[in-house]
Symmetry: C2
Subunit: 371 residues, 2 copies
């Protein structure tokens, strides 16, 4: 059986009648090779299917052409959407992705993970774990020891200590709330995500700020916490209605919880948006097919992932030594969300006509959604 041991650069060199480092020059596209020599080498490579051993190359170059992505599981819409974008852009730029799922970050796991990534000589790290509780401190205490650059995606509590790409989550709350007010709602409830999440706190703050700016008073019954799930949206809306029966609009902090509100409203016989206007966040694929189609706030998550890869690549590939994490300027890139108006809310008439050309398009139309 032809046990095709992998070809080495030396064997290719012998076959082409040149030295090993001439082959090295060819496969690295160095300019200083005679055209006919280069062609002879390329010919051999084509015939044999030779591909250089990236482990050996990494050892000599001191870089692995690999980026580690630390993600928070694949169950949440945002994180997995970001991961897709990261993988795509990284592949375009010649990096492999080393995937690490960290479902319950604690000091020991973070330590083990970072040590493992360091041992594997990754060129850089994208930390795509949302900021929940004080989990960001786990990372902060390790920054000084990291020998490679690291970029955060999402979150930015307190003084930033690492470069990050994030979405303006307060603007998400403002966009949704301004829209509900413009549609005539005056008693707006909010269903937040878990307050331990930075995103959840920011979205809520955007809601509260907007109400205050419009001179509207807040009462306790208008704020309920969910846990991002459909059922928590159902439960929160039930509790809210019990204490504040005159609620006429809901800002749910994600589309799943908004779906829960739609279900609960339906089971109570409420009409949406006539009796209750609803706005979600995320613009998940299903949201345009909820009943009624959901008005939501879209986040440029794909762009966030791509920018993270580009920033990391710039640090890695730039002239000069690759900076350690602690040496990078901790700049924050903040991206803006975008409101998508559908049928679950009462927009001002002009706005509605501009967005929805025909009433019959309710179940069919899909927005172009450059997420």
């Amino acid at each position: 059986m032809p046990r095709a041991r992998r070809l080495t650069i030396r064997e290719v060199a012998a076959a082409a009648g040149v030295s090993a480092q001439t082959v090295s020059r060819v496969i690295n596209d160095r300019p200083d090779v005679a055209p006919d020599t280069s062609e002879r080498v390329r010919q051999v490579i084509r015939e044999t299917g030779y591909a250089p051993n990236m482990l050996a190359r990494g050892l000599t170059q001191g870089r692995s052409h690999t980026i580690a992505v630390v993600a928070y599981g694949l169950d949440y819409f945002g994180p997995s959407f970001v991961l897709s974008a990261i993988e795509r852009r990284a592949a375009e730029r010649g990096y492999a992705i080393m995937l690490n799922l960290l479902l319950e970050p604690d000091a020991t796991k973070v330590d083990q993970l970072l040590n493992g990534l360091s041992a594997r000589q990754v060129d850089g790290i994208i930390w795509a774990i949302p900021e929940v509780g004080d989990n960001r401190d786990l990372l902060r205490s390790r920054v000084a020891e990291l020998s490679v650059p690291l970029i955060l995606v999402g979150g930015m509590t307190g003084v930033p200590f690492l470069p990050s790409v994030t979405i303006d989550n307060a603007a998400i709350g403002r966009l949704a709330t301004e829209h509900l007010l413009a549609g005539g709602s005056r008693k707006l409830g909010v269903i937040t995500g878990p307050p331990s999440w930075w995103e959840a706190r920011q979205r809520r703050a955007g809601w509260a700020d907007t109400l205050a700016r419009h001179g509207l008073d807040l009462t306790d019954c208008e704020v309920y916490e969910g846990d991002w799930t459909v059922q928590s949206g159902v439960a929160a809306f039930g509790a809210m209605r019990a204490s504040c029966p005159d609620i006429d609009a809901i800002f749910a902090s994600n589309d799943q919880m908004a779906l829960g509100v739609l279900h609960a409203a339906h089971s109570l016989g409420l009409r949406v948006p006539e009796d209750l206007a609803v706005v979600g966040v995320d613009n998940i694929a299903e949201s345009s097919h909820f009943w009624p189609p959901l008005t939501t706030v879209d986040q440029p998550l794909g762009q966030a992932g791509e920018l993270a890869v580009e920033a990391l690549d710039a640090l890695i590939s730039g002239s000069g030594p690759v900076p350690r994490a602690a040496e990078i300027a901790p700049a924050t890139t903040m991206l803006e969300p975008r409101l998508i108006v559908r049928d679950s809310s009462r927009p001002v008439v002009e706005q509605r006509e501009a967005t929805l050309p025909a009433a019959a398009s309710r179940l069919v139309s899909v927005e172009a959604d450059g997420r």
Copy 2:
């Protein structure tokens, strides 16, 4: 600035007053080291935080302790669920995961991908791309050249040519259909996935076989194709109702399309399950909170991913040389699906009481779902 160049085994050896390969023996847990020598070395390692360079180790050992996973994007529920399970089990066994997303497999991309994985010296490959059209042929033609083991997850058309872990998709169709018949339905429609997908064809075949076994005739109006999306479920059900108004049950080939059917039924004023029973597939997290909660067929996808990793690890870590893909016995491991009864179908009375203790639990209960 302490530019902490990474420690090498030689420096650790010097600090401990031993030779490099004694350190090597310690970090590889070889038995033939004197206890006090070993302790001295471990002490230095603890103090310095030394971690061996996996690139160098990979170069000498001829393996990278890395498994490549080729997945079909993260948008579909099944593939991303499988990926999570693979990552978890691989991490437990000391493998890093190299993630590759292949959204539109074609000959050129598959070639480039496999060459890249080979160059990066991955120890094995898990091919988690569903079998769509003839995309499996792209792989088949490359098997002979692969120098590492490869395991398929999902699909198994024709003669298997590689080991695979898959779910019995025909059984999915049978389980759903038997259940609908047991509930008294007699005019069952099916909304299939795209017929280019192996899973879709198998689920449909299970449905058709079961009807035939019960002596029920099939008519054209009972089969419509969807594309796994909510809106295609809406459209398919609309078309079906137009030509077969007496349809009293729908087997939708995934939960998204089942959701579309629920919406469409609702908008037509149909009661579920009284006028129309509905069964989906996948048991996505939201399905227990649809209106009404969806009866569905759960697939052991997590188990499939774990088994794939274990099988690959056995091939890699086994005694003797690691086999090339073409040298592995192409056995298929077939896992069985499981029916989960909720409120969107009319089960036989005994069965219903066993599963749902109280009618009030509709929106609250969540099944334990060892997927």
